[in-house]
């Protein structure tokens, strides 16, 4: 292989020195610029779309407000000014870190979002973990010998599960585990408790105990994520098993377990990582239906409430928060590819 690297005439190279000075920071800067453009676009689009949706003054004043009361409210919130001026005011405030106050409660809008966020992150993380723990071994098992009768019947069941809507699963879970068996609570959310485990008189270790309220929402959400992930892992494993390097490993005397776990699965996970990233990014928007059914106080639930009451500052803050999280998850997914696939690791100079 010949590789004749060349440098071009000096005038074309001015950007090169800049690039080399920043070195490893360049990709980070690229991502930051992308994030800023994304947030700006989301905020601007949402601002104008929400103003088309209705008049917040009507919501604030209630149905039987007099025109004078409406005027007063508009003046108080700056809603009487031209839309463009409102937009610049809003953007100016944003730039200073002021996300506005909730029209409904008067609390800081972003603060409200951030207090609801942990509940959503908790359920998303739990559901994702459940789903991964089941789907990867199950998918690997299915993809290893997909032609066998037992694998085919399990695949059939998974295929059917994939067609069942998430809210149906949630309702069945509530009926079975909360109503009939009375094992688990069907509504609400509690943080876990911490038990002090006393080892000696003076020394004790705090042990977090998860709350029972987590189980049903997380399980029904995981149930919704699992079939597609299982199928992707299975398909990728089956594909990897047909590759030449599997033949090489077999010819070297590798056992079935080595073939599957050391050779096929690491390759199959490359495809699975892409789907896990997409699913997780999707969950960042709040599992609206799940949170509503289980009265789970997360941002999906807040989104429904804020949209219904036209609580613009809260909706705007939600959008910013969700956009940032989705962005972060996508960036992490890209990073995980580099971790999983040595071919994508850029060679350090």
């Amino acid at each position: 292989m010949s590789s004749t690297a060349e440098t071009v005439p000096p005038d074309a190279q001015s950007g090169g020195t800049l690039g080399s000075l920043m070195g490893p920071l360049v990709p980070v800067l690229h991502q930051l610029i992308r994030l800023i453009v994304l947030l700006f676009t989301v905020t601007t689009l949402l601002f104008f779309m929400l103003r088309l949706a209705g008049d917040p003054a009507l919501v604030l004043a209630g149905n039987d407000a007099t025109p004078q009361q409406l005027e007063a409210i508009r003046a108080q919130y700056g809603l009487d000014k031209p839309l463009v001026i409102q937009y610049f005011n809003y953007m100016g405030n944003l730039a200073q870190g002021d996300f506005g106050k909730s029209l409904a409660s008067g609390e800081p809008a972003m603060g409200k979002v951030l207090t609801m966020l942990p509940a959503t992150l908790l359920i998303a993380g739990l559901a994702m973990a459940f789903s991964i723990i089941v789907a990867i071994p199950l998918g690997a098992w299915l993809g290893f010998k997909p032609e066998r009768a037992d694998r085919r019947s399990v695949s059939g069941v998974i295929f059917v599960c994939q067609g069942v809507p998430g809210f149906v699963t949630a309702l069945i879970f509530i009926q079975v585990f909360a109503v009939n068996l009375r094992w688990l609570p069907s509504l609400g959310m509690e943080w876990g408790t911490i038990i002090e485990w006393a080892i000696t008189e003076t020394l004790s270790i705090p042990i977090p105990v998860p709350s029972k309220t987590w189980i049903l929402p997380a399980a029904s959400l995981a149930w919704f994520l699992m079939p597609s992930l299982t199928r992707v892992v299975a398909a990728n494993t089956a594909e990897a098993m047909r590759e030449d390097y599997i033949r090489t490993a077999r010819a070297g005397g590798a056992s079935a377990a080595t073939l599957l776990w050391s050779h096929a699965l690491p390759n199959a996970l490359l495809g699975a990582a892409a789907l896990i990233g997409t699913q997780f990014a999707f969950l960042m928007g709040g599992a609206v239906i799940t949170e509503t059914i289980f009265a789970w106080p997360g941002i999906g639930w807040l989104l429904i409430e804020a949209t219904q009451t036209l609580d613009f500052p809260v909706v705007q803050s939600l959008a910013l928060c969700i956009a940032t999280l989705v962005f972060a998850v996508n960036a992490l997914t890209d990073l995980s590819f580099q971790f999983l696939d040595p071919r994508l690791r850029t060679k350090g100079n």
Partner: protein, 562 residues
């Protein structure tokens, strides 16, 4: 008396498929003695890989049926062994080297893990000792920096280095038998020569028997003590390599040898296997002289001229996504082709020959210099003239749209900027089929219904649809069997005679080039290092690289001269 390492006795093997059983091996018998290097030579689909895979029982047992025959490898009746027993001998007493070094190693595991794994599985050593053994093995394959290769991922190594890793792996547990399935087919000739030497040397040093599977008679001639010739699931001939190649008894062996361009008069018609097989009953020699064909030399004016043609690809980008450094694929090439002439561009992978071919048809833009067609820059040509230059790609498997019928593929160039009627196009496609030796009743078929050689005929027909003057042929026979290659070479020469075509023929195969080209240009590291009449360049090369290349090409004559 030498000990027998492998004995296959009257083995029959059927593949079970939904369409019914397919007999892949029709009663083969084979013996390999200790320390012997035995070749199995045959074309694709002849059953040679099935034979190799079957020695280690690597074929899925649920999909095959063995009605008769026995295989004894090192005294084991491998057909009676279960998977666990087989795992104990695979990679230990018997190991394998595969064809495609790009895909035969796991892309996400370091070389280290892949070799150490095999050693730890079969030898009672600690991981530390395994590492020492691996490094020693890599050093034995004459890899320049064993430590670095040991720590590398496969994609960080070149094809030749990966194949050395495969060889190190195959020798790792001191096997008695190595099965090498086309070990050098995917490699450049100079690398192939090194790998073959290495394989032979390692086998001789360790007294290991080798079963070499290949399609290349010249490789067999260079390496093997004895050879089995395989055709349609049978060994039609076997014996000492020099006997089989020097004095072939079976009609197929003769035909195979006659289809090789090496040693034949340039531009003569090559024998093709199907024609030979149709003529006689198997086993009987037919003395069929190869008719030299007088080709009319119709050299005219200069049709194509490259003036300092340079192609650069961006390599690194700055913050704003603008390229700051470049890889030069084609470096100031000056060449000229006269009308009716064939200019061959020879070189190894990565030398820039395909980049140049693409530049001639406008698929690559030149960074510097110019390409002139009949004294006009190709960038300034009108559409009509531009069509006089057409290209045929290497792999007909992937260069034809799998969902289009042949008539649409062949006539697509005619629909650019025009809209001829369907019946007109179908008529033209039927004519083209006749021209390239396909039946005109086949125009409604899809590419997958054809063999590799037929697909290449379709690709040539497509290029001919617009009545080109200059045809760029980018490795048109590299993906084909030798007998099929002979058919395509015959076709190309006939077409040139009939239509006065000019060829720019890109190839890595010196014997093919010798056969078809009037002029040769040798490319090395992006530059043309030598150019001139093909006789002169290939028989009396002046540049050092050309000499290396010529010496590396496996040759039947040279193998026996030595």
């Amino acid at each position: 008396m030498v000990k027998t390492v492998v004995r296959i006795d009257d083995l029959r093997l059927e593949f079970l498929s939904q369409a019914g059983p397919f007999e892949a091996l029709k009663g083969i018998s084979l013996e390999i003695g200790e320390g012997e290097i035995v070749g199995v030579v045959g074309e694709s689909g002849s059953g040679k890989s099935v034979t190799a895979m079957n020695l280690l029982q690597l074929l899925p047992r649920t999909k095959i049926n063995v009605p008769t025959g026995s295989i004894s490898v090192l005294g084991h009746d491998v057909q009676a062994m279960n998977e666990r027993q087989l795992q104990a001998i695979r990679g230990g007493e018997i190991s394998m080297i595969f064809q495609e070094p790009m895909t035969a190693l796991n892309p996400v595991l370091r070389v280290k893990n892949q070799i150490d794994d095999v050693i730890l599985r079969h030898r009672h050593v600690t991981p530390k000792e395994a590492e020492q053994i691996s490094l020693k093995l890599l050093a034995d394959t004459k890899i320049s920096d064993p430590q670095r290769v040991y720590e590398s991922f496969p994609h960080e190594l070149s094809g030749g280095m990966r194949q050395r890793v495969m060889i190190a792996m195959a020798f790792s547990c001191s096997p008695k038998l190595i099965v090498a399935d086309e070990p050098t087919t995917a490699l450049d000739v100079t690398v192939q020569a090194q790998i073959l030497d290495l394989l032979k040397e390692r086998a001789r040093d360790t007294k290991t028997s080798v079963l070499l599977i290949t399609h290349d008679l010249a490789v067999v001639a260079q390496l093997c003590d004895r050879v089995y010739v395989m055709y349609k699931g049978e060994f039609v001939e076997n014996g000492k390599t020099s006997d089989v190649i020097g004095n072939p008894q079976h009609v197929y062996t003769r035909a195979l040898l006659n289809s090789l361009p090496e040693g034949k008069a340039p531009k003569s018609r090559l024998a093709t296997v199907s024609a030979a097989m149709l003529e006689g009953n198997t086993g009987e020699v037919i003395d069929e002289p190869i008719e030299p064909v007088t080709r009319i030399a119709r050299t005219g004016d200069t049709i194509l001229k490259m003036q300092g043609a340079t192609v650069r690809y961006p390599k690194d980008y700055n913050f704003f996504g603008r390229p700051v450094s470049f890889h030069t694929a084609v470096d100031h090439v000056n060449l000229e082709i006269k009308e009716g002439e064939t200019l061959a561009l020879v070189g190894e992978s990565g030398c820039g020959k395909t980049s140049l071919a693409n530049a001639v048809v406008g698929l690559n833009l030149l960074s510097d210099g110019a390409i002139l067609y009949r004294d006009k820059n190709i960038l300034d040509l009108n559409e009509e003239t531009l069509r006089e230059i057409q290209i045929v790609f290497q792999d007909p498997q992937s260069s034809l749209d799998p969902r289009w019928p042949v008539w649409r593929i062949m006539t697509e160039p005619l629909t650019v900027g025009k809209s001829p009627g369907k019946s007109e196009l179908r008529d033209r496609a039927a004519d083209l089929c006749e021209m390239v030796g396909l039946e005109n009743s086949q125009i409604d078929r899809l590419p997958h219904e054809f063999s590799g050689g037929q697909r290449q005929r379709i690709a040539i027909g497509r290029a001919l649809s617009v009545r080109p003057k200059l045809l760029v042929l980018d490795e048109p026979t590299s993906a084909l069997d030798v007998s099929v290659q002979a058919q395509i070479l015959n076709l190309l020469l006939d077409l040139q005679d009939e239509h006065g075509l000019t060829y720019l023929f890109i190839s890595h195969d010196v014997s093919v080039v010798k056969h078809i080209a009037d002029k040769v240009a040798v490319m090395f590291q992006s530059k043309v290092v030598e150019a001139g009449d093909s006789d002169q360049v290939l028989t009396a090369p002046t540049h050092e690289y050309t000499r290396t290349l010529m010496n590396a090409v496996p040759s039947l004559n040279r193998a026996f001269a030595a």
